[in-house]
Structures are given as C-alpha cells and as structure tokens.
C-alpha cells in the first residue's frame, strides 16, 4: 500500500473512531456516574441528526452551524426529561429494570420520530467551507472528515478539563466513588444526576449532528449506533472516558482494516473483537470488575 492510500485510509479510520467516541463518551460518562446503561442514548443521537436535517432545511446556507447548537439542545431537553420523568424513580432497582425502561423509551422515541419526520431517509450536505476534498501528501482527503476529528478532540479535551479542573467535575468523579459521602458533604446529588445524564444526552445529540452530513439519516439509526456504542464502551471498559477513546480507535481501525482485507467478513469482525476482549478481560480494557 502506497503512502497516499495509507493516509486516506487512516483519516477514514480516525473519522469513524471520532464519531463513535462522541457517542460512546456520553454513554460511558452516564454509566460511570449513574451505574446504568442507557439504551435510549441511540434515540438522542437520532433526534440530534434529524433535528439537523430540519434546521438545514430551513436555513440552507448557515443551517449546519445553527444545527450544531440546536441538535445537542434537543437531545439535552429529552435527556433531562427522561431522567426526571422516568429514571429518577428507578435508581436502586435492578439493572434489568433500568435496561428495560430505556429500551421502552427507545421504542417510543423511534415511533415518535416516524410521526415527526416520516420514514424516508434524509440527508444534508456538509457546510460549503468544508465540502469537498483537499490534498494531503498526494492523497485526496474529505475535508469534512477533519471536522469530525476536530469535534472529537474538542469533546475529549472538554471532558478532560471538566472532570479534572472544575468543581463540577470533581463532584462527578466523587459520585462514581462514593455517592453517600458526597450527599453527606451537602451536594445536591439529584441535580448532579440530572446534569450528568443531560450532558450524556447532549453529547449523543452532538454526535448525531456531526454525523448527519456523512450518513443517511432515518429510522433505524438509533438501534444501529447503540450497538456500536456498546461495543466501544465495553471494549474500553464501562465508565472510563479514556477507555472509550481507545475502544473507538480500535473499532475505527478494525472496521477500516476489515473493509479492505476481508470485505465479506467486515461486519462480523467488530463483534468478534468485543467477544475476544470480554473473554480475556470480562470488564473491558480500562474498566473495573463489577461488584
């Protein structure tokens, strides 16, 4: 493989990894703080993408940049609603209960999306500035790929800053370690839970907007992304943001390699990878064993 092909493939792998990371980071953040797996995370992602197509429909020129704000906001509102209306009543119950409740929400949101947006597949173009390709060491690279990668870097850096350099971040990390002590020290833990869940939903919505110009947007993308996000989060270790980054890189590279080396096996490759990781380390690469 010559250099230019290598560059093209690497950028492709990185961009796949980047969009996966934004989704999985939200999922794993919520798991870390709330100890629950949110299947409806896929719905937030889908609504972010669908909202983006609507906004771009209204404002064809600057729509994408507006959607970059509107999409995550839609997901944030949904997330806060879900947490306050449903999940808040289910903390302390079995994990099956929470899993099923969020599964039920996925089904409800999927049908509501059909009502609002119909079953046709929608698509939008990348904004003009980043539409098209540019040359990089003799390779043609889609400019929009760089936007996705930049978004992932911003999200990753932002989460790192939030978790390590702000009081809110300390509280979020403390709630993972020992919620009871945190309550005793006077922190409003209910608000904190709502906030963390909302932040996770916001990230899913953001990922939806970012991916919209690259993918067909329509029914089914919720269930499809949630499986991919699970795989990334589980390989990396649930609850670990760094793990999500590593997991998404592994999946991005594996998907690209698989598509090149053995196309007919590519779709099975990532599941095999997850099973192998779980067989060796049942709690993921950077996770901690379940108590």
């Amino acid at each position: 493989m010559d250099l230019s092909a290598f560059v093209t493939q690497s950028i492709g792998a990185l961009s796949t990894a980047s969009s996966l990371f934004i989704v999985a980071a939200g999922l794993t953040l919520v798991f870390g703080a709330l100890r629950l797996i949110n299947i409806a995370h896929g719905s937030f992602y889908m609504y972010g993408a669908l909202a983006a197509t609507t906004v771009v429909g209204w404002f064809p020129d600057s729509g994408f940049w507006i959607a970059l704000i509107v999409g995550p906001l839609v997901a944030l509102v949904m997330g806060v609603g879900v947490e306050m209306g449903v999940l808040r009543r289910l903390y302390g119950r079995e994990h099956l209960t929470q899993l099923l409740a969020t599964f039920a929400l996925l089904l409800i949101f999927a049908d509501l999306a059909l009502r609002f947006w119909g079953k046709n597949v929608r698509s939008i173009n990348p904004p003009k500035v980043v539409n098209g390709n540019f040359g990089l060491v003799g390779a043609r690279v889609p400019a929009y790929d760089m936007v996705i990668i930049a978004a992932a870097i911003v999200v990753g850096g932002g989460l790192w800053l939030l978790l390590t350099h702000t009081t809110l971040g300390w509280k979020i990390r403390a709630v993972v370690d020992d919620p009871e002590v945190l309550v005793c020290s006077g922190v409003n833990i209910r608000m904190l839970y709502t906030g963390v869940f909302g932040l996770g939903a916001l990230l899913a919505g953001l990922a939806g907007v970012v991916i919209a110009p690259q993918q067909a947007v329509g029914p089914g993308m919720d269930a499809q992304i949630i499986v991919a996000a699970f795989i990334v989060a589980v390989i990396g270790g649930l609850g670990s943001i760094t793990g999500a980054a590593i997991g998404s890189l592994i999946i991005g590279i594996a998907e690209t390699l698989g598509a090149n080396l053995a196309p007919s096996w590519a779709s099975t490759f990532i599941y095999l990878l997850m099973i192998v990781v779980l067989a060796v380390r049942p709690w993921g690469l950077l996770g901690t064993p379940e108590r």
Binding site: A101, F103, A104, W265, I275
Partner: protein, 345 residues
C-alpha cells in the same frame, strides 16, 4: 436442600398451580395435594386442546406463533426470573432452531422430523461455548456480551450467503403438509409446548433450580458453601438455549422460513418483554405474556401503525409501577378477593 430452604420461600411468592416439591408431606396427604395441584395444569391443557376445534383458522395460526413464543419466553425466563441473568442473546438459539430445520432441508435434504428433534441439541451445543465465554462477565457486562453474540450471529447469517441465502432467508416446502393445516399444526405445537413447559417446570423445581435462585439471591454465600456458581449458570444457559432452539424450530411451522432477523438482538428483546409483561417471578407469566404480546401486536397493527409506541408505553408502565407483571397483579387481586370473602363470612 434445607441449607438454603428459606431462600425458596421468599424467591417464589407466587407459585404456579401444580405438584410442588416444596410442600411434600407424608404419603397420604401429598397425594391429595398432588391431585389438587395437578388440576389446574390439566384443565388448562384441556381448554387449550378444545380451542383447536372452536377457534377460526386465522386465530389458530396466531396461536401457533403464541405457542412457539410461550416456549421461547419460558426458556428465557429460566435465566431471567430464576437465575437472575439478563440475556439479550436468546435470539441466537431461537434463530439457530429455525435455521437447523431450514438449512437441514436446503443442504442435506433432511426430513422435517429429524431436524425438529435435532434443533434443541444444536442449540445446546452452540450454547456451551457462548455460555462459557459470556458467563465470565457479570451483570451488565454479561447482558452486553450476549447482545454481541446476537449481533455476531445476525451478521454471520446475513453475510454467509452461500450457506444461509443471506438476507432473503431460506424459504421452502420443508414443513410436512399435514402440519401446514392450522388445526393439526396447532395441536402438534400444543403437545410440544405442554411437554416443554413440564420439563422446564421440573428444572425450576429441582434442587438445581433452587441453587440457581440461591445464586441470584446471594452469590457469595452460595460460593462459600462450595457450589460451583459458574458451572451451574453455564448449565442453566445451555438448558435455556436448548429450549429456545426448540421454540425456533416450532416457529418454523408458523413462518415456514428461516431468516437473519430471527437472530437479531431486538428479537432477543421479545421474550424478555413477554416475561416482564406476564411476570418474571411466576412460571406461567412469560407464557401469558407471549399470548398478550402476540394478540396485542396482531390487533394493534390492524388499526394503527404505532405498535412500538404502545409496546414501549406498556413496558414502561409495567417496569415502573408493576414490576411483577400481570400474573403478580392477578395474584394480588386474588389475595384481595380471598381476604374480602373471608371477612364477609
């Protein structure tokens, strides 16, 4: 058995009618208890048998689907309700059961009866390695790794076109003509269902089933007693897999095809929904859930398109406010009526 006998009582508030090992008393008393407790299942079977001659053929065909799902849900509930293991991968075995019949016919011209009998064994055989790997993980990680197996199986079935006919699935006249008649098909499936449920009931109420419930309630303590928790759970996984595969083979009589969606993780969700709707804590709950789910689905899609919305809303309400499902609610209602009746006298 007496070591964790106390666990049994609180783990099973609502017991199905039927002979109960727990209440085994000296011979004369136990015989009358046995007779009394056998009445309900025998009566239920008789009613189901008579339905074959009273229902119309459209309803009978739906009932075939219900019976296959009743076995699927009851087998899944062995893990869910008894062992406390949330598996999102039971569709792997359901699909494998269907594919055993369909592919046996397609590639090796095996007769239906042979593949039908073979299906549970194929399911059990596949469940051994999956169980050995997946059960190394715990709780959510177990649920998610079974989900990965489900997706893997789905992708394999879809991409190995030469073996499975890919996304189209396998269609063909592999079901004997006698069984394609609604009534005979229903009667055959009823017989298989009754036998399967009796066997699963036996498993639930054996010392083995008791150990599973004990592990669910307090894993560390059972481990400390010297029980090999891992192997017990693998065994439960294999038994469940075998019956899920049998259910898949039963489903073929209704669908007359095998296709990749049967292996998908959303299909793995169905028996879990059915068990939750009917009540996971009871033996017949999942079967009742299958009946409600299937008829609810068939009726609702006739009138409006938002079936998933209704299913999601029902699930959400049950999960939030009614965690022991319909059977649990019925049992509580029965208790209220009994108390009211006693008070009146």
């Amino acid at each position: 058995m007496s070591t964790y006998g106390h666990l049994d009582t609180d783990a099973h508030d609502v017991d199905p009618p039927g002979p109960d090992t727990r209440s085994a008393r000296p011979a004369p008393a136990s015989r009358t208890v046995l007779l009394r407790r056998a009445t309900a299942p025998v009566a239920l079977t008789a009613v189901m048998f008579l339905l074959a001659f009273t229902l119309g053929s459209t309803t009978l065909v739906t009932m075939q689907e219900v019976l296959a799902f009743a076995v699927f849900a009851t087998a899944t509930n062995l893990l869910l309700g008894q062992a406390g293991l949330v598996s999102f991968g039971q569709a792997v075995f359901f699909g494998i059961g269907s594919y055993t019949v369909a592919l046996g016919w397609l590639h090796w011209q095996l007769p239906f009866w042979a593949t039908f009998v073979l299906a549970p064994f194929v399911g059990a055989l596949v469940a051994i390695p999956i169980g050995l790997v997946a059960l190394r993980a715990r709780k959510l990680y177990f649920a998610l790794s079974t989900l990965a197996f489900s997706e893997l199986a789905y992708q394999l079935a879809e991409s190995r076109y030469n073996f499975t006919k890919g996304a189209n699935g396998v269609f063909g006249p592999f079901v004997p003509t006698a069984l394609t008649q609604p009534r005979t098909g229903y009667l055959f499936l009823l017989a298989v269902t009754v036998v399967s449920l009796l066997l699963l009931w036996k498993v639930n109420h054996s010392p083995f089933g008791l150990v599973l419930r004990a592990i669910r309630e307090n894993r560390e303590r059972v481990q400390a007693l010297g029980v090999n928790v891992y192997l017990h759970q693998v065994a439960a996984f294999v038994i469940s897999g075998a019956f899920c595969a049998l259910a898949g083979a039963m489903f073929v009589i209704y669908s007359q095809s095998g296709y990749p969606e049967l292996l998908d993780w959303t299909t793995s969700g169905w028996p879990v929904f059915m068990a939750v709707i009917g009540g996971m804590g009871t033996f017949l709950g999942p079967a009742l859930g299958a009946l409600i789910y299937q008829f609810g689905h068939d009726q609702l899609v006739l009138y409006f398109s938002d079936w998933q919305l209704v299913l999601g809303a029902v699930l959400l309400v049950i999960v939030m406010f009614w965690p022991d499902g319909l059977m649990g609610a019925l049992a509580r209602l029965g208790g209220v009526i009994r108390r009211w009746w006693k008070g009146r006298r």
